[in-house]
């Protein structure tokens, strides 16, 4: 098909400007920014695509065995501390690799949140625990993909790499609507129907796409534009993802990277996450399970924290080396921390009163520790921060003014982060 009369799919891909302008019509308008209110916001975003890597340690990593160790105290546990690349900052000895990357990181040691149950806590934290207005708020992933809008990667804006099953996870999107849900890759595997059927070769696939595009182009000459735009958008994204099956091909990773990240779930999944970020996915979430160490916390942490340490340090190092860290916001956290008091099963229980998280990149200040806890780690003895403060901070790191931008939920204006909280200035570069 040389010089064929058919047009190419990419000629029809909606320009970023069209989407941002909210001109995509009713059917596709859901992808636009038309229902966010903030003057001059869309223009700012065009400068550089921001991305997020969100690492969720499900069940609750112990702050005492990671970011806020209290050695030789009542509740300190058996592990020692080690110095990091920033003088005066110490981590638990379970984080030897990450300690070498501290110059890129910002640690918050003064989190004080509202919920000590997993079932409700996970949702409250990931939705930013806003004031109850009778609506279900979006998870951070959905909020970010909504507020940043689409980029031109042609890939799904939000993917979730997790152990076990995958699919299209839409409930996280709350009132924003299911199109802001995540495409989940169960155990890093591709979505259903991604593989080209054996009866269709590459030439067929290309021609099918061209013929469909031609048919849609003809139809749109006499009909409202929104429908064909929406239809073309999802076919182009499907074809783009089919072309990028290499994203899921573990054999394409260099042996050195595989060794640096590790062959365990979190190692493989963070390596895949790096690839997704490089390919242009806006929001990549990686889940690790099993952190709820009510029993045998210390042996558990010995194994789990180390499994986190190795690939986390590797991805921070890689993103920094390529300069991507300037535009990728990295967050690693749980729904709460763990009790300083050690229970009868040598475990630590749920503790939202005083815990830690770590972040890096994008507009986050590098090499800082913010906040502190008292000597035995039971309570925050600096200004306590709720998850709402973190949402404000993250949005601002991404270039979104969290105190001026609002969602518009069918006429109901809704703040994007809890209005009783504010961005933490010490965390912002």
């Amino acid at each position: 098909m040389t010089h064929n009369p058919l047009c190419k799919p990419w000629e029809h891909r909606l320009s970023r400007r069209q989407w941002l302008g909210g001109a995509a019509g009713a059917a596709a308008g859901a992808f636009g920014l038309g229902d966010i209110t903030s003057p001059a916001f869309a223009a700012d975003l065009k400068k550089k695509y921001k991305q997020v890597l969100f690492i969720w340690l499900d069940g609750g990593i112990s702050q005492l065995e990671s970011w806020d160790p209290k050695p030789n105290t009542e509740f300190g546990g058996p592990f020692r501390t080690i110095p990091t690349s920033i003088p005066g900052v110490h981590f638990s000895e379970l984080l030897p690799h990450t300690a070498k990357q501290m110059q890129h990181l910002a640690v918050v040691r003064s989190l004080c949140t509202q919920d000590d149950a997993h079932s409700s806590g996970i949702e409250r934290i990931q939705r930013g625990d806003p004031k109850n207005r009778g609506v279900v708020y979006p998870y951070f992933s959905a909020a970010v993909t909504k507020l940043l809008g689409p980029n031109d990667s042609g890939l799904p804006p939000s993917v979730w790499i997790k152990p076990m099953s995958g699919g299209f996870i839409y409930k996280d999107a709350g009132f924003l609507g299911p199109q802001y849900g995540s495409l989940a890759f169960g155990d890093g595997k591709p979505p259903e129907n991604l593989l080209r059927h054996s009866s269709v070769n590459d030439q067929d696939l290309l021609e099918r796409s061209q013929l469909r595009t031609l048919a849609d182009k003809r139809y749109s000459q006499t009909h409202r534009a929104g429908s064909t735009e929406a239809n073309s958008f999802v076919y182009d994204m499907g074809l783009e993802l089919m072309k990028r099956q290499d994203l899921f091909d573990a054999s394409k990773f260099s042996p050195r990277d595989v060794e640096r990240y590790g062959t365990h779930d979190l190692g493989r999944h963070l390596l895949l996450a790096r690839r997704m970020l490089e390919a242009g996915v806006t929001f990549v979430k990686v889940n690790s399970y099993g952190w709820d160490s009510h029993g045998d916390n210390f042996n558990g942490s010995l194994s789990l924290v180390r499994k986190f340490d190795q690939p986390f340090a590797a991805i921070i190092e890689d993103l920094a080396a390529t300069g991507m860290l300037d535009n990728v916001l990295v967050i690693a956290m749980s729904e709460f921390g763990r009790t300083p008091r050690v229970n009868g099963h040598l475990g630590r229980d749920h503790w939202p009163e005083a815990w830690s998280l770590v972040m890096a990149g994008c507009g986050v200040k590098r090499g800082v520790v913010v906040g502190s806890t008292n000597d035995n780690g039971t309570y925050v003895n600096s200004e306590p921060y709720d998850i709402g403060h973190m949402f404000h901070t993250w949005f601002n790191a991404l270039g979104i003014n969290s105190q001026k931008t609002e969602y518009n939920n069918n006429g109901q204006p809704l703040p994007i982060a809890h209005e009783g909280c504010h961005p933490v200035k010490e965390l912002l570069a």
Partner: protein, 542 residues
């Protein structure tokens, strides 16, 4: 329980209502249009709002036959059916076709699929619910009766007991979440009254003056008293004895208020008191795990007071929803935002339709027929050249409509000549795959065309779709491969999939493509067929 028994038992509750209804009728509804005049009156009201803006042209026969098959039979016509209609020279052939389809065997199934998606919003299915809808639409059951059977399901009537699924599915506990009584309350308001009272749960609605907190709470009082019966093997709902009003207060002023069961906008009913041990009509039975039938049942009260001709919101809601089904956009839009601040695009028209559906005793088939006969319905979707596209709410041109997963599935089978291929068991697999790919996610109303990555990957790569394009005796691709004349092939291809002849330009493009790919004609023919199945034109009812 028969209708007469129900009336006797609840006579005390309903007398006031019947009086109110009689008074409303006596006070003079405007005279009802003769049924035959209705389409003309509808068209006149559309034209009067459009004023000087020109109305679009009538659809051609090919567009019409496709549209009306999709709306009334749930699928596109086969190429033979389309040809028969196009060749028919009779002047009233459109009316004939409408009547044929409404009388046909596929109409009840189309209604069943339509109302399943509308009422359950893809939460899931149950054979008992399917049976309820099927028997209801086979009998052309009036809407008020259908809703009455849903609002107070009768577990003793095998044909309709599955109506309880509307409630039981919504009361199922999901994970560690609380039973969603507020969600059920909200859906009753949304789907039967066109009123989304969600924001009125905690306070009077901030922006919608007519939605009061007591409207939500009066319904909620009914539903927070219900539970899924576990003594029966089919979906069934039970009620506890209700002895006192529900307390509530606005989150704003915290003033303590109470209400008993109440239809939104209606009068609160007093909760009767009974002597001890007299509160049950049928007492609980521990042996059978039967929870008892209270003498006072708020669900029975709702079923008697809500779906009635005197309830304007109820009549408006179904009039608006049937209009939406045929015209692609509600006169009140969104469909569940019926209130004073969200005026219908054509208030007089909604009044007319609402009165008409009451006059026709909630006969939905009759209403759909009247709507199908209008010029408004039969107009083309083509944009007028050289001017701004008309706003959808003007109906100056017809609006494109999303095809449901069920319409798409059956249409793919018809288009590709595979209709007889799947056997009964495979058919369910086929249906489930299409619903998964094209249905909205649970609890999301299917209103607009909303393709997804899931649906595009399904059409691109799923064997269920691609197998329909493998040549089989008598199917589309096999017929096309037998056609050596490429122009004739283009005609048959377009007629089979898009229910129209190709334009000269389209025919030439097909011929050129086939000529260039003469040495791989089977693949080329398959590619052409696939492209039309994936096209926007095929995925819409235009």
């Amino acid at each position: 329980m028969s209708a007469s028994q129900r009336t006797t038992r609840s006579a005390g509750l309903t007398i006031s209502l019947w009086v109110a209804l009689w008074m409303a009728l006596a006070a003079g509804f405007t005279p009802i249009a003769f049924a035959d005049e209705l389409p003309a009156r509808i068209d006149a009201l559309i034209a009067s709002v459009a004023k000087d803006s020109p109305l679009g042209t009538s659809s051609d026969d090919a567009t019409f036959v496709r549209r009306v098959y999709l709306d009334l039979a749930g699928r596109i016509p086969s190429w033979q059916e389309a040809t028969a209609f196009l060749d028919n020279k009779e002047a009233n052939k459109r009316t004939q076709l409408i009547d044929t389809l409404l009388a046909g065997s596929e109409y009840p199934r189309r209604m069943q699929d339509l109302f399943h998606a509308m009422l359950m919003e893809r939460r899931g299915d149950s054979p008992e619910w399917t049976k309820f809808l099927q028997t209801s639409f086979e009998a052309n059951k009036p809407w008020d009766q259908l809703v009455r059977e849903i609002l107070d399901p009768d577990p003793n009537n095998e044909a309709i007991r599955g109506a309880a699924f509307f409630h039981t599915k919504r009361l199922e506990k999901v994970g560690q979440q609380e039973t969603d009584y507020p969600g059920l309350t909200r859906d009753v308001g949304r789907l039967f009254l066109g009123m989304d009272l969600q924001c009125a749960q905690c306070h009077n609605h901030l922006f919608i003056e007519s939605y009061k907190q007591v409207d939500f709470q009066g319904l909620y009082t009914v539903y927070q008293n219900t539970f899924i019966r576990n003594d029966l093997k089919f979906p069934a709902i039970g009620e506890k004895v209700l002895t006192k009003k529900a307390d509530f207060s606005s989150v704003f002023d915290k003033v303590a208020l109470t209400t008993g069961p109440r239809v939104p906008g209606g009068k609160e009913i007093e909760i009767p008191t009974f002597e001890k041990n007299e509160e049950y009509l049928v007492p609980p039975d521990k042996k059978t795990n039967f929870s008892g039938t209270p003498r006072f049942r708020p669900m029975q009260f709702l079923a008697t007071e809500l779906p009635i001709s005197g309830n304007k919101a109820f009549a408006n809601n179904i009039a608006n929803r049937l209009w939406f089904v045929m015209m692609g956009r509600g006169l009140v839009n969104p469909l569940d935002q019926q209130h004073a601040a969200n005026r219908p695009s054509h208030p007089e028209l909604l009044d007319l339709l609402s009165q008409e559906i009451v006059a026709q005793k909630f006969d939905m088939k009759s209403m759909l027929r009247q709507l199908a006969l209008t010029e408004t319905y039969q107009r083309a979707t083509l944009l007028p050249a050289g001017t701004e596209p008309p706003k959808p709410e003007t109906y100056r041109i017809a609006n494109e409509k999303r095809l449901s997963a069920e319409q798409l599935m059956t249409s793919v089978l018809v288009a590709t000549g595979s209709r007889d291929k799947p056997r009964e068991v495979e058919m369910e697999k086929f249906r489930a795959a299409f619903v998964k790919a094209f249905g909205n996610v649970p609890q999301d109303p299917e209103v607009e065309f909303s393709p997804s990555l899931k649906s595009s990957l399904f059409v691109l790569n799923d064997p269920l779709v691609l197998d329909c394009l493998v040549p089989q005796p008598g199917n589309l691709v096999e017929r096309l491969l037998k056609t050596t004349d490429s122009g004739a092939l283009a005609d048959e291809l377009y007629l089979s999939i898009l229910t129209r002849k190709p334009t000269d330009e389209e025919r030439a493009a097909v011929v050129e493509y086939l000529t260039k790919n003469a040495e791989r004609r089977p693949a080329a023919v398959t590619n052409l067929s696939w492209a039309l199945l994936a096209s926007t034109e095929f995925c819409l009812n235009h």
